[in-house]
């Protein structure tokens, strides 16, 4: 009997521990790679660091310098708007694409693969492509505008328009993965719910609002985490597309961080900017997790 109880207890313990043991390698990797980077960055942020990483402890001086820098404040505001518009456009498009891909029956696999193509194109190639599209001289967009009798625009020469182009390019790049996330959520919905709703006379909008959206809520949260993280971190598309111009109109925090770290070689202040981005991304992720109740049950 004691042996039987002991055996059952050991199995229960093993069953309880197994998920954590399986998580351990991934966790060690994350802690080892990312954690080391974050901790090193945090340490660097408290030091004045020269080009050869020789350090002098300066406490919060780097933080004061960064937060009082007008250029940083402007880039932060710009980033907030950039992320806001990217999320709005990205979520709308990815939801539309996911709903469409969920319903199509012909060439389903091919179209799903095709929808992922933008994600596989490098950021630099994406930027070159978009730069060509919106070139005022030979760009396709201006040619179309001219063809319908509208004047061409200085897309990359106007601060507002260049910002719009960056948002569009960013959305084009981040939507595919978000679409994949939402599509996976849509595919878990029991079709009988839709059938029952139609029998009860519910139209498309009501079905979407009262059945689809609630059931993919956790996936919406994951998608938002991806969209906001990718947008906050977006660097390669913007640097190649506009270089942060014209006139710093597209200089987001990630670009400014690159300037500070790799142009001015001020690794201390660059580390502060890294931590700012990390804090914002972490905070937003926690908000999304709480709002969309990912991984838990509704209260």
């Amino acid at each position: 009997m004691a042996t039987l109880v002991t055996g059952r207890g050991a199995r229960k313990t093993a069953a309880a521990l197994t998920p954590y043991l399986l998580l351990l390698p991934g966790l060690l990797f994350v802690l080892g790679v990312l954690g080391y980077g974050v901790v090193s960055g945090a340490v660097l942020s408290l030091h004045e660091v020269d080009a050869f990483l020789n350090r002098r402890f300066v406490g919060l001086a780097n933080y004061i310098s960064v937060f009082s820098d007008v250029r940083f404040q402007a880039s932060l505001w710009r980033t907030v708007w950039f992320v806001f518009f990217s999320i709005a456009l990205g979520l709308t498009l990815s939801l539309m694409f996911a709903l469409t891909l969920d319903r199509i029956t012909r060439a389903r696999q091919f179209l799903r693969g095709l929808s992922l193509v933008p994600y596989f194109v490098s950021g630099i190639a994406t930027a070159v492509m978009w730069r060509f599209l919106f070139s005022s001289n030979v760009g396709l967009v201006n040619r179309i505008l001219n063809a319908v009798g509208l004047p061409g625009q200085s897309w990359l020469g106007d601060p507002t328009l260049s910002f719009v182009v960056c948002v569009l390019a960013n959305a084009w790049f981040i939507v595919p993965f978000s679409t994949l996330i939402l599509l996976s959520g849509l595919q878990t919905i029991d079709r009988q719910l839709y059938d029952a709703a139609r029998i009860d006379g519910a139209g498309g909008v009501r079905v979407f609002r009262y059945i689809t959206l609630p059931l993919i809520k956790p996936m919406l949260g994951v998608s938002l985490i991806w969209l906001s993280y990718a947008s906050f971190s977006m660097f390669d598309i913007i640097i190649a597309l506009t270089g942060g111009g014209p006139f710093r109109a597209t200089e987001v925090v990630s670009l400014y961080m690159y300037q500070v770290g790799f142009r001015f070689l001020d690794f201390g202040e660059a580390s502060v900017l890294m931590l700012v981005l990390l804090a914002i991304n972490t905070l937003l992720s926690l908000v999304y997790l709480r709002v969309f109740v990912i991984g838990g049950s509704e209260p």
Partner: protein
């Protein structure tokens, strides 16, 4: 002892000897890493002849863009992967030298002069001056040029202007005349760069030619030269003499406007004359070049910048002998010729006088007297990159705000430049 055993033992001894010999040969091979700033600078034979001449030296090279070298070199140095030789733009030599990233090669140059006098004598003095800082030579600047005013002489003639524009006012008048010429498609008088992606190496030479002064490498914008400099760019935009999208233009778009026959003038180096020559042959009266304009009455204050692309020895290198051999190899006329024929001009006098070079670049002799007037780029010893960053912002504001007061703009940016220099 059995014959087969003796045979196996003999084979084993021979194999051991071979391994030892091979190992000792490999152990004596010096690995040298070279960073080229552009693919165009790589020798056509990719060091094949060098390897044949020096089997004990293996050169591994890659392209790291000139603009990225300062950052990449620091990171490589931290990782213990720094190259032996880097190629950079000459205006970053002071900052890299004072940061301890470079190594003086004064003794190596003396050896070069003593051991290879013919090779040394073929190199113009700018080879060493463009790679020097504070009296120390850090490498060899085998490719050097300046910025000139390119202009469509046929367009000027069409507009009734027979004199070469030499002052700022004359350049603006020429641009106005070119912009109003009747032609199929829109023409602009002056093609400029506006993007934030490239350093201000097109603007600074103009500032200097207008008499602009530098104090410890900091441009003195708050001066008559500075006001004229800013007003020039503003006038181009205000009067429609430059393309309205100039704010987004990179060097490629600036050049394309000229090569494509849409722009009449630009500030550019002579390496671009090669593709222009392919479209519009030089010497037919269609285009020409001259020194950058000076301010009216301030011709004596004008100076012209030399822009070099030196090969420098890094502080991490311990292969002085091999570096010397590679630099000498890169300086050979046949090696330089392949680059100079289609790209940057060289400081090797034998190349500059070679009939093949003169045939490929028929403007070469005409440009020589202009190039003899150049001076070194007055760079800041520690914060040149920060200063360039401010100037890029100025470039954009000049084009974006063509009606702003140039004096006010000059004073604001002077403050920013002084702050950048003092960080």
């Amino acid at each position: 002892m059995d014959a087969s055993i003796r045979k196996r033992m003999a084979n084993a001894v021979l194999a051991t000897i071979a391994v030892v010999v091979l190992g000792s040969v490999l152990a004596q091979t010096t690995e040298l890493r070279v960073w080229f700033g552009r693919e165009n600078f790589i020798p056509a034979d990719q060091f094949a002849t060098f390897h044949a001449e020096h089997p004990d030296i293996r050169v591994n090279f890659e392209v790291i863009r000139l603009e990225d070298v300062p950052t990449q070199l620091i990171l490589a140095q931290r990782a213990g992967q720094a190259p032996d030789i880097v190629q950079i733009a000459s205006h970053t030599v002071p900052q890299m030298a004072s940061s301890g990233l470079l190594q003086s090669i004064g003794e190596l140059v003396e050896r070069w002069q003593a051991e290879m006098p013919d090779s040394y004598a073929a190199l113009a003095p700018i080879t060493w001056s463009a790679a020097s800082y504070d009296g120390e030579v850090y490498g060899a600047s085998l490719f050097n040029q300046s910025m000139y005013l390119f202009y469509r002489s046929d367009w000027l003639a069409e507009a009734g202007i027979m004199e070469t524009p030499r002052t700022l006012d004359e350049v603006l008048s020429a641009a106005r005349a070119m912009s109003t010429l009747p032609a199929g498609g829109d023409r602009i008088g002056f093609s400029v760069i506006g993007t934030a992606n490239v350093p201000p190496v097109w603007e600074l030479p103009l500032f200097m030619s207008l008499g602009g002064q530098f104090v410890d490498g900091v441009p003195q914008l708050d001066s008559e030269a500075g006001y004229a400099f800013i007003d020039f760019y503003q006038t181009l935009m205000r009067e429609g003499l430059a393309h309205p999208d100039s704010l987004a233009w990179d060097p490629g778009e600036m050049r394309a406007a000229v090569i494509g026959g849409r722009a009449g003038m630009m500030i550019e180096g002579e390496h671009i004359y090669v593709p222009i020559h392919e479209q519009i042959p030089y010497g037919t009266g269609a285009w020409s070049f001259t020194l950058l304009p000076h301010r009216e009455g301030a011709e004596s204050e004008a100076r012209y910048i030399a822009l070099g692309f030196p090969f420098l020895m890094t502080a991490a290198s311990e292969n002085g002998d091999a570096v010397l051999k590679v630099l000498e190899y890169l300086s050979r006329p046949d090696i330089l010729m392949n680059v100079a024929l289609t790209y940057q001009p060289t400081s090797n006098l034998r190349v500059a006088e070679d009939p093949r070079y003169l045939a490929a670049k028929p403007w070469a002799l005409d440009i020589l007297p202009l190039f003899e007037q150049v001076v070194q780029f007055p760079a800041h010893p520690s914060n040149q990159l920060e200063i360039m960053d401010v100037l890029v912002e100025l470039r954009q504001e000049m084009l974006a705000n063509p009606t702003a007061d140039p004096v006010d703009m000059a004073r604001r940016y002077q403050v920013l430049l002084d702050e950048a220099a003092s960080r």
